[in-house]
Amino acid sequence: MKTLRDAKVGDTVTVVKLHGEGAVKRRIMDMGITKGVDIHIRKVAPLGDPLELNVRGYELSLRKADAQMIEIG
């Protein structure tokens, strides 16, 4: 399974499925990361975590541990 964590800076990927459950998953989805949406990986924070993503026209930061829950195509 390829996840958002494996994507490289500069990639644009499409979300296939979200794994996990509960508050974190709901929060990620509330912020617009849903099935089929395109995500552009903007950069990684200077210390290597979290990630900065461009999704639905705005900038979102997400920890790598949480990015692992997002399956991409």
Binding site: V24, D30, K43, E52, N54, S61
Partner: protein, 726 residues
Amino acid sequence: MEIKIALAGNPNCGKTTLFNALTGSNQYVGNWPGVTVEKKEGRLKGHGDAVIQDLPGIYSLSPYTLEEVVARSYLVGEKPDAILNIVDGTNIERNLYLTTQLIELGLPVVVAVNMIDLVRKNGDRIDLAKLGDALGCQVLEMSALKGEGGMAAAEAALALAKGHRAGELPHVFTGSVEHAIAHIEESIAGKVDDRFLRWYAIKVFERDERVMEELRLSASLKAHLEQHIADCEQELDDDAESIITNQRYAYISGVIERSVKKKRAKHSLSISDKIDRVVTNRVLALPIFAAAMFLVYYISISTVGDIVTEWTNETLFSGLICGNLSAWMEGIGCAPWLVGLVVDGIVGGVGAVIGFVPQMLILFLMLSVLEDIGYMARVAFIMDRIFRRFGLSGKSFIPMLIASGCGVPGVMASRTIENERDRRMTIMTTCFIPCGAKMPIIGLFAGALFGGSGLVATSAYFIGVAAVIFSGIVLKKTKMFSGDPAPFVMELPAYHVPAVGNVLRATWERGWSFIKRAGTVILASSVVLWFLQSFGFVDGVFGMVEDNNTSLLASIGSAISFLFAPLGFGSWKPAVATFTGLIAKENVVGTFGVLYGFAEVAEDGAEIWGNIATDFTQLSAYSFMIFNLLCAPCFAAMGAIKREMNSAKWTFAAIGYMCGLAYLASLVVYQLGLLFTGHGFGVGTAAAVLALLAAVYLLVRKNRYDDNPLAVRSVTAASKKKEMIS
């Protein structure tokens, strides 16, 4: 009749600016009952019958964050007459996600598309009429920053409220989901307010715990509805909550496609992104961050801040007010005790606290600017990796940095941390960082017993940082901090020019809340301590005493000094000095001076180095220093803690924890120090070894609250919040 309009929107959508513009100075700021989420309401300018209720900035009406729970309890419980929904036009897709949820509540809604000037500047076009048709409500445009259209939007909401007109609900859901929701609606009709039928039905579909509890459906009906939901889940291969979110966003994407034309290509860089490419760049981010922090610290603590604090303390309070006041009071023949109470107790005590205010205002001004331009979110982004290991937030860096100057603004700076758990943890640990007022204590002992070695001060900082890290790791495993999971899913808002009004208002609100605290808790504590210090029994007669040695405080000091014996300073002088340190830590040195019979000593107490060297060993001095660095901070800082915790229980827990940790740390250092310098193994040594083992155990033990699935944790957290709110 009074009309209530709720102002709702995402964080960073310009809600605060609009709220300030709509209500002017006519605002009431408080807290939502039981929680530390700020509650603001105010009267609409020119419409005395309309109250604007500012809701916390939220992304969704899910039950997972405190702000969301507060906002939805208000909307569903208080049923405002209309909702004015502010939408950031430059980030319209995600902003409309909340809008679709607000509309489902069935209350009259007006959508105001904010930052329309920026939308135009970007060359984008938003077709308001089409958007309004799709959403089933009135859509207006505005620019809160430029002051355009805000009042018109509020008046539209007011008109709608007076007419009690809610729009047609848009058809957000499709297929089997819509079918299931319609079915749920039929089943629960009559059990809930008609207007909220759709909202409740969707929440039942999502299996929202709080709504299910509230509705108390019969077991058979629940099982029946559950079947419908499970069928949908099976058909769409997803859980119910995700199905709803997916369909909502799918619906919004369709609406956006029809009514918004973007000039820029998808994922392209905006001006803000280009700035950010430099500011949070892999190489430049840390130097820029260090420079920004240095600037904040340099201006607010070292230079301007120090000058104004010095002036308020020395010139204004000590000189002008205290000097003239006591001369005047003596002149009109007041009793000496009354002069003492007013001048030394009240004015002196409160003055010591108020002296921090100008410095705090400068600091808050700078923090407000950083917050308003959007840099604060970047601070969290840059520092998250380090701080989250200790159960803190990336934003905890700022309070700790500030606390190395003064703990009071340090604690207050924790206000910028949204997550309640992270904020409490930060407040509890910030005061471990040695503040400026603790420096004289270090100077005193370094000079008297360590030949003025700079290593003593350096080690004090290491001990402070170690205490923060230790506490972070240990506390995050306790039940107190097990509550909310804190996912770091954070928006990095676009940079923008700070709004002067917002910045000044935020600065003043923070400063004022501290001044109020100074007037109550801190005032009372100062008076009590003054009394204890100034009165005592001399030759069996109670009265005012000339020197502290005969004061009540000295008696108390002697009575409790045995407590400090295991730490190596079990005589009354250090005990009393520790107490007076509560007024202000720099008092510790002065108190030693008085107790050794000097009227006045230099800041580092050079005159009494000889006395200190006789009464203390290197080890007991170091132990005393550790205790005073880590134990309860001064009254001003305790007042700030009380203000920011907004709960007596949490305040006591924080202060109790600090004292406990200070005691054990000193115990371990002193007793093990004795052991290693060739003294025998005694009861104290055993206690120290036990304390050390306990500390190690707490550090390495497994976090049993971490094993629970997130779902369970969040549900218990949500129900806890419900209790707090109701």
